[in-house]
């Protein structure tokens, strides 16, 4: 993925977090570029509504270590060894999960948490260590997606940094899950990385400052334009961003 940075605009790898031994970290790599205007002879196509759907909440525990391992095995085998030049709609490339409507119901009543972090280029080992930590704690991830990031934008709380980002969907259930994610936070922090607010639902507020060095700059602006703290959210309350 790293060597192809200049060749492709977008690259994403579906990673199997459940495999161990020599198969550890096996993945399906997809890379893409916007199709040039004169290339396709087809008309502009909008995204098609998904034909598959989940009709009701699955029983809790449907997505567990055993079933996820089985699914990953099938998914990995279903992918072609090499395929180039395939046109895909934006949604098919960026949001493949939406191919199954109401996919979140597979997680049942207990639901799932998402976890995504970014680490700099020199800290690629962190991704490997994170997957190993999850695997050894028996905490399965139904979805693990690895992507390359370029520079952050001017936003004071911009998430990306040049390097890697790993996104995980984790069924709630294993009692080790909260502690394992706290441990991953420490790993990410020591690698100079950070957690993605848009996916976060359990980060400890004490870690935010170290992960987002421009936090004080942001707070200065916020406190100046919103002295009565009207602009708040559950996230800002939980992470103490504001006031």
């Amino acid at each position: 993925m790293q060597s192809g940075d200049d060749a492709y605009k977008y690259s994403v790898a579906w990673v199997d977090c459940m495999s161990k031994g020599s198969s550890m970290g096996r993945a399906i790599l997809t890379r893409g570029d916007h199709a040039p205007k004169d290339d396709s002879t087809k008309r502009l196509e909008g995204p098609k509504p998904a034909k598959l759907f989940v009709p009701f909440n699955a029983p809790s525990g449907l997505l567990n270590t055993f079933t996820i391992k089985a699914f990953n095995e099938l998914w990995f085998r279903a992918a072609p060894k090499k395929k180039v030049g395939q046109p895909q709609s934006l949604s098919a490339f960026f949001h493949p999960l939406d191919g199954v409507r109401d996919w979140n119901r597979l997680y049942g009543k207990r639901g799932f948490v998402q976890y995504q972090f970014a680490v700099p280029d020199n800290a690629g080992e962190t991704v490997k260590k994170a997957i190993e930590r999850l695997s050894s704690s028996g905490v399965p991830s139904f979805l693990a997606v690895l992507k390359r990031f370029g520079a952050s934008n001017d936003g004071m709380l911009s998430f990306p940094m040049p390097g890697w980002t790993l996104a995980l969907d984790l069924p709630v259930g294993p009692s080790a899950l909260p502690q394992v994610l706290d441990d991953l936070d420490e790993m990410v922090l020591s690698a100079g990385g950070r957690i993605y607010f848009a996916k976060d639902s359990r980060l400890s507020h004490e870690k935010v400052r170290a992960m987002y060095p421009r936090l004080d700059e942001f707070l200065n602006v916020k406190n100046r334009v919103d002295p009565e703290d009207r602009l708040i959210s559950d996230l800002s309350r939980r992470l103490h961003i504001g006031r």
Binding site: V172, P178, S201, L235, R237
Partner: protein, 255 residues
Amino acid sequence: MENAFGQPQNVIVLGGSSDIARAITKKLCTARAHTVVLAGRNQQLLDESAKEAQEYGATKTDTLLFQAEEVAKAGEVVSAAFDKVGENVDLVIIAVGLLGNQRELENDPLGSARMADVNYTWPVAALGEIRRRLVAQGSGRILVISSVASVRVYRDAYLYSGAKAGLDRLCQGIAESLKGTGVTLQLLRPGFVRSKMTTGQKEAPFTTGVNEVAENTMRGLASGDLVIWSPPILKYVAVAMRLMPNQIWQKLMKR
């Protein structure tokens, strides 16, 4: 604000020096709780609990004295606790209870009334104010410590068991009434627990220590289930408790 695992940052514990409450508070502070307000009847025990909370991670603690026999003041106590937190309250735990000495109290009108007040009426009154405050916030959780004894009343502890049964069912009604408000209520039903309250008593089957209760509570907060059983197997034991013929039930529970 609580996180996705139901771990709160701000907690009020009514009955904060009870052994079960202390064990739960420690686990909460290890997780995400940084502000803890403890209310109870013994200042020294409350101070010890507060110090313990700080050792486990709380950065702000405060205490409040009250008597659960004073039903008329329940609202004031809750209000004062909320004010001491100073911002949105994420979790209120009701850990008020009195096992009492059944034989001594059963023929005593005042003693019997006291059992009902401490185990039932005070919590019900407090819940009125807790409910009002949390619904106004639009978020928050209530954890009421009920008991496996609430499942079916038995002769040798009917003052306690009966009051807990009443509180338990009433709270189920509160939980229903809270749907759509952003506030939830959960019931913790521990079995026999080795603690100050049960010193000297004969242990029952499925007895646990307070730490196990606390662990089951954390798991229950994450799952969001209305009833949290500790230990979990009691859920199935309860079915048997309800179905067995009365003679067998009373004989089984003879102490």
